[in-house]
Amino acid sequence: MKKIIALGVIVVIAVLLAIFGRDLLDLYRLQSYITTSTETYQAERGNWPHLTDACTGCHGSHGNSLNSTYPSLAGQPAAYLSAQLRNFASGQRFAPNMGPLAMTLRPDEIDLLAKFYARQSVGTHGPVSPDEDLKDRGKQLVQTRGCTACHGAQLMGHEAYPRLAAQGQDYLLAQLNAFASGERIEPSGAMQAMAAALSAQERQAIAAYLAAIVPQPR
C-alpha cells in the first residue's frame, strides 16, 4: 500500500512539474537568489538596511560603476576616499550631488564607507574607447608626465593618491578638466599644474588610456 501511495505522490509531482515545471523552477531560483544575496549582504555589510546602500545607485553595489560618468570606488585607498568625503562636506571639493550627502556623514560613517569600498575588488567596467591611437598617445603622456610616481607603478593608487587604472573615462576626463580650470584642487598643486599644461585633446587621450588599463592586484 505504502509503495502505491509513494508511487502516487511521485506521479502527482511529475504531473505538476510537467505543467508548472518552468514556473516552479523560476520561483525556486528567485527564492534561492534572495536567500543567497541576503546571506552575502549580512556577511559583507551587516544588518539591513545598511549605510553603504546609499552609494549603490551611482557607484554600484560594490563600488564598481558600469557608467563611466560616475566614479568607481572599489579598491580606492581608504585614505583617499575619506579625504574626498571630508572635502565634499567642507566644500573644498565642489560637487553639487556629493556635498550635501557628505555633510550628513559622521566621522565614523566616513571611516566605515572608506574602508568598505577600499576592500572591494576592482571589477570590469563599461566600454572603453576603441581608438588605439588615442590610447597610445595617452600612454605616452602618462609615462612622460610621471603619473606613476604618485599613483603607483600600476596606477592602482595608494594612501592619498587615487587609483586611476580602469576608472570611468568620462569621470577621469571631467576631473582632469576640473584640475585644469582650477575648479578642483589638491594640496600639492601638482595636479592643477600638470592638467593646465595639457591640451584638451591630451586630457582626452590620458582619460582614454587610463580607463582601458586592466586593473592589477595591489
Partner: protein, 490 residues
C-alpha cells in the same frame, strides 16, 4: 480661472481681479486694492520689471500665468535651459507619441495640478496596471498580480499611515514629535519592523523611487511628512491604483508647461541662466544673466534649492537661508529610460509590463504606453551605475531583461530613449529630495521666509505634496499671491 479670459481686458480691471484673487487666498488683501492697482500702473521704466521669475518649470510658469491673468504685464520668466518644463520632459517617440522622462503622475488629493490640467484643457488617463507584475532576481522569475500595488506589507503600511498623522506636511519641524522622529532614518525604523528578506528589495526600490535614496539615509520625519501629504494614507503615496502613480497626463506632463509658456509668449526667455543676484535687499534687484543684466522689483525663485546654491548673491544671503541651500540634499540624479515597441505585446499574455528586479539594474519598469495602447512603451527607472553610458549597450542590457520578464518580442524594440538627469544638462542636478535625519530641525524655519525681494518658490516649498508636480503648482500659485501683495506695498 480660465485660459479663455479675453486678452484685451483693461489692465486696471485685471489688477482689481488680482486683488480679489489674492483676497480669496486669505493673505489679508482686503484693503488697499486700488492702491495695488495704482502701484502696478505707476510709471515703470521699461528696463525694470515688476516681477522676474527664475525658472520656467511648473512652479515658475504657474506663478507667471497667475500674475499674467491677474493683469501683471511687467513680467519676465528666465529659463537657463533651451526649453520649458523643468523636471518634466517628454521624449518624442515620433508620430505624435511621447513618453515622459521626468515627473509624470498625479493622484488623489493632488487637486492643484488636476485643476491646472483642466484649466489648460489637458486630459488625464489611468496608469496601466491590470495583469501580472514580473519579479526578477538572479536567474529566477515569478509573475504575480499585485492588484495595482507594489505588494507592500499592509501592517507596515498601516503603522506608517498612523505615525504620519503627527507630522504636518507643510512644516514637519512643527510636529510635536519632532525630537523623537527627526533623529531617526527610515532605515532605523524599518530595522525594528522584522522586515522579511524577500520584502527588503521592495522597500529599497520604494525608497529609491519615492525618496531618491535607500532607507538608511532617508529622514524618517520627512518620509512621514510625505505620507501626510497623501492624506496620511501610505498606499496613496506608494502604490499605483488610487495613488500618486495612478493617473497620467494626455500628451505628457511637459505639456502643462508648454501650454502655459505659449500663453506667456515672449515673457518667457530661454537659454538665459542667471549667474548672480545683486541688491536683493534693495528696491531694485539686479540679475546678472548670460543675456545681460535684468532688473526687477520682485523676484520669484522657482528653482531647486541646489540650483539656488549655484548662484552668487550680493550681499550674501542670511546665514539660515544659506545654510539650508548648502545642506539641501541633491544626490538623487534619476536615470529614466523608455523602450518603444510596435504594440504592448505583454498585455496579450496577461502581463501588465511592470518589472521589479531584485538587485537591479532595473529598479522598476512599467507600461507607459499611450492611452489606448496604440504602441507599446516600457519606461524604467534604472540604477545609474548599473547601466553603461553607451546607449546601444544600455538598450541591449535592458532588452535582455525585458525578454526574460515579458518574452522574446522584447528583443525587438523600435526605439530607445535614455535620460540621466545628472548629466543631461547642468540645470537639474537632482530629482526628488531625500531630506536626511535632523534636516528639518535645523533648517525648517528657513524654508519659506522671503529674503528682501526674493520669494522662494518651487515644489520644495509647497505646503502639500512638496516634491511633486502638484506641489510645484501650489508653490507657483502661492508665490504669485505673495508677490502681488508685496507689489501693492510699493
Amino acid at each position: 480661472m480660465s485660459t479663455d479670459a479675453p486678452p484685451d481686458l483693461k489692465r486696471r480691471q485685471l489688477l482689481k481681479l488680482a486683488g480679489a484673487t489674492a483676497a480669496v487666498g486669505s493673505i489679508g488683501l482686503n484693503i488697499g486694492l486700488a492702491n495695488a492697482a495704482d502701484a502696478l500702473l505707476k510709471d515703470n521704466p521699461d528696463d525694470v520689471f515688476d516681477v522676474v521669475i527664475i525658472g520656467a518649470g511648473l512652479a515658475g510658469l504657474t506663478a507667471a500665468r497667475d500674475l499674467h491673468l491677474a493683469g501683471c504685464e511687467s513680467l519676465l520668466v528666465l529659463e537657463a535651459r533651451d526649453r520649458v518644463g523643468g523636471r518634466t520632459l517628454n521624449h518624442d517617440l515620433g508620430s505624435g507619441y511621447i513618453s515622459e522622462a521626468g515627473g509624470q503622475w498625479i493622484g488623489p488629493g493632488q487637486t492643484a495640478v488636476a485643476d491646472l490640467a483642466r484649466e489648460l484643457e489637458v486630459g488625464t488617463f489611468p496608469s496601466f496596471y491590470e495583469g501580472e507584475t514580473v519579479i526578477l532576481g538572479g536567474d529566477g522569475r515569478v509573475a504575480v498580480d499585485l492588484k495595482g500595488t507594489f505588494g507592500t506589507d499592509e501592517s507596515i503600511s498601516a503603522k506608517l499611515s498612523e505615525l504620519s498623522r503627527d507630522v504636518p506636511c507643510g512644516a514637519p519641524w512643527k510636529s510635536h514629535r519632532v525630537a523623537e522622529l527627526d533623529k531617526l532614518s527610515a532605515g532605523d525604523w524599518l530595522a525594528q519592523q522584522n522586515i522579511k528578506p524577500e520584502d527588503r528589495a521592495g522597500w529599497n526600490a520604494s525608497f529609491l523611487l519615492t525618496c531618491g535614496v535607500t532607507p538608511a539615509k532617508m529622514g524618517f520625519l520627512h518620509f512621514l511628512s510625505m505620507i501626510n501629504s497623501a492624506g496620511s494614507e501610505y498606499m496613496r503615496l506608494d502604490s499605483i491604483k488610487d495613488s500618486a502613480q495612478g493617473t497620467r497626463i494626455v500628451g505628457g506632463s511637459q505639456v502643462l508647461s508648454s501650454k502655459m509658456a505659449q500663453l506667456l509668449g515672449d515673457k518667457v526667455r530661454l537659454s538665459c541662466p542667471v549667474r548672480k543676484i545683486a541688491d536683493w535687499n534693495g528696491d531694485i534687484v539686479r540679475l546678472q544673466t548670460d543675456q545681460g543684466e535684468i532688473r526687477a522689483r520682485r523676484v520669484i525663485m522657482a528653482i531647486h534649492p541646489a540650483l539656488c546654491q549655484r548662484l552668487q548673491f550680493d550681499p550674501a544671503l542670511p546665514e539660515a537661508r544659506a545654510a539650508l541651500q548648502r545642506a539641501w540634499p541633491a544626490h538623487s540624479p534619476a536615470r529614466k529610460t523608455a523602450m518603444v515597441y510596435p504594440r504592448p505585446f505583454w498585455r496579450d499574455k496577461g502581463l501588465n509590463g511592470h518589472i521589479i528586479q531584485v538587485g537591479g539594474p532595473v529598479i522598476w519598469a512599467y507600461d507607459n504606453s499611450p492611452p489606448n495602447g496604440e504602441i507599446g512603451v516600457i519606461n524604467a527607472f534604472i540604477l545609474n551605475a548599473a547601466a553603461p553610458t553607451d546607449l546601444e549597450a544600455a538598450k541591449h542590457m535592458q532588452t535582455e531583461i525585458y525578454a526574460r520578464a515579458l518574452g522574446d518580442a522584447a528583443l525587438e524594440p523600435v526605439s530607445y530613449h535614455d535620460h540621466d538627469w545628472a548629466h543631461a544638462d547642468p540645470w537639474t542636478i537632482t530629482c526628488v529630495s531625500p531630506i536626511p535625519p535632523g534636516f528639518w530641525s535645523t533648517h525648517g524655519e528657513a524654508l519659506r521666509p522671503p529674503c528682501g525681494n526674493l520669494f522662494w518658490s518651487g515644489t520644495e516649498t509647497a505646503d502639500i505634496w512638496a516634491g511633486y508636480m502638484d506641489g510645484a503648482v501650489r508653490a507657483g500659485r502661492h508665490s504669485a499671491l505673495q508677490v502681488l501683495n508685496a507689489l501693492r506695498k510699493v
